[in-house]
């Protein structure tokens, strides 16, 4: 593709040339459902990698309590819409990509919005179930991730894998304690799943729930 080699973009992606399918990444549209801790770090990873279009979906405004872990926001952004601030930040990270900011809950995403993958940056299960359905109903995968405290988990869900309802049993408690490092680590792995999928590389976390606890530095992979 000619556009790959125009201007600065050839050099920009030179150090990942052998690792990804850059042409596919540049053409790809990735929806990030929720741009808080997880979604913010996912978005930065995908912007750096050169994913051509990022679609940010989040109705929230920046709050002071976000600032311990949400990389995209500063004190001067408190009270502003997250997706708008995030769009500006990401365009600064990589001005060659398109960033679409959608200021609504994922439940209200318009049918006209087109995407190739949905990455989970949400903070509750009802919205995750909806985002998963949104992805699978369009025939695209959903990269689940969740964090709490020093712990994180993720898996790659598509039309042939187990879904959230198959491994989320009963009530899921919410604990608001979370660290930037946990969000960054989990989100980086989620972003890598999206990059691998779009590039046609590697072994995806299909039917495998990866769980870690950074406090004890224990990892477990649960076959679903």
């Amino acid at each position: 593709m000619l556009f790959l080699f125009e201007g600065d973009t050839m050099h920009r992606y030179e150090r990942q040339r052998d690792l990804v399918n850059q042409e596919r990444l540049l053409k790809a549209k990735v929806m990030i459902a929720g741009v808080g801790g997880l979604g913010g770090f996912t978005a930065v990873n995908l912007a750096l990698a050169g994913v051509g279009t990022l679609i940010l979906v989040d109705p929230d405004t920046v709050e002071e309590s976000n600032l311990n872990r949400q990389l995209l926001y500063r004190e001067e952004h408190i009270g502003r819409k997250k997706v708008m601030v995030a769009r500006d930040f990401l365009k600064g990270v990589n001005p060659h990509i398109d960033v679409l900011a959608i200021d609504t809950p994922v439940e209200n995403v318009d049918d006209s919005i087109d995407f190739d993958v949905v990455v989970d940056g949400l903070d509750n299960y009802p919205s995750r179930i909806h985002a998963e359905h949104l992805a699978l109903s369009r025939g695209v995968p959903f990269v689940f991730g969740a964090v709490e405290g020093y712990m994180g988990m993720l898996t790659f869900i598509d039309g042939e894998t187990k879904r959230l309802k198959h491994f989320m049993h009963g009530r899921v408690s919410q604990n608001s304690q979370v660290l930037a490092g946990t969000a960054a680590f989990t989100a980086s792995l989620q972003a890598l799943e999206a990059i691998k999928y779009l590039s046609g590389r590697g072994d995806l976390l299909r039917n495998r729930l990866l769980i870690y606890d950074a406090l004890s530095t224990n990892f477990v992979e649960v076959k679903l």
């Binding site: 979604g39 969740a146 964090v147 709490e148 988990m153 989320m168 769980i211 224990n218």
Partner: protein
């Protein structure tokens, strides 16, 4: 039988340990383990407890083996 349990996330923080070896009757199932943990640790009494055995999700009727992981489902983002 002896069972070595690894605790993840808030479960480890709530009970103050990352792992332990316990004694339970031979042939005990995941259901019995969960019941025992809820009785032993009040902090887990009202928790949904998930278990994996040998790297696989373990339903409640699955017999225990020596190595077991116990974790909460989490929802933060």
């Amino acid at each position: 039988m002896k069972v070595r349990i690894r605790y993840f996330g808030r479960f480890a923080m709530e009970i103050g340990k990352f792992s332990e070896e316990i004694e339970i009757r031979d042939g005990a199932t995941v259901r019995e383990l969960i019941k025992m943990l809820r009785e032993r640790y009040p902090a887990l009494k009202n928790e949904e407890i998930e278990v994996s055995i040998d790297g696989k999700y373990a339903p409640e009727d699955m017999p225990l083996t020596y190595e077991v992981s116990v974790y909460p489902m989490i929802s933060g983002g």
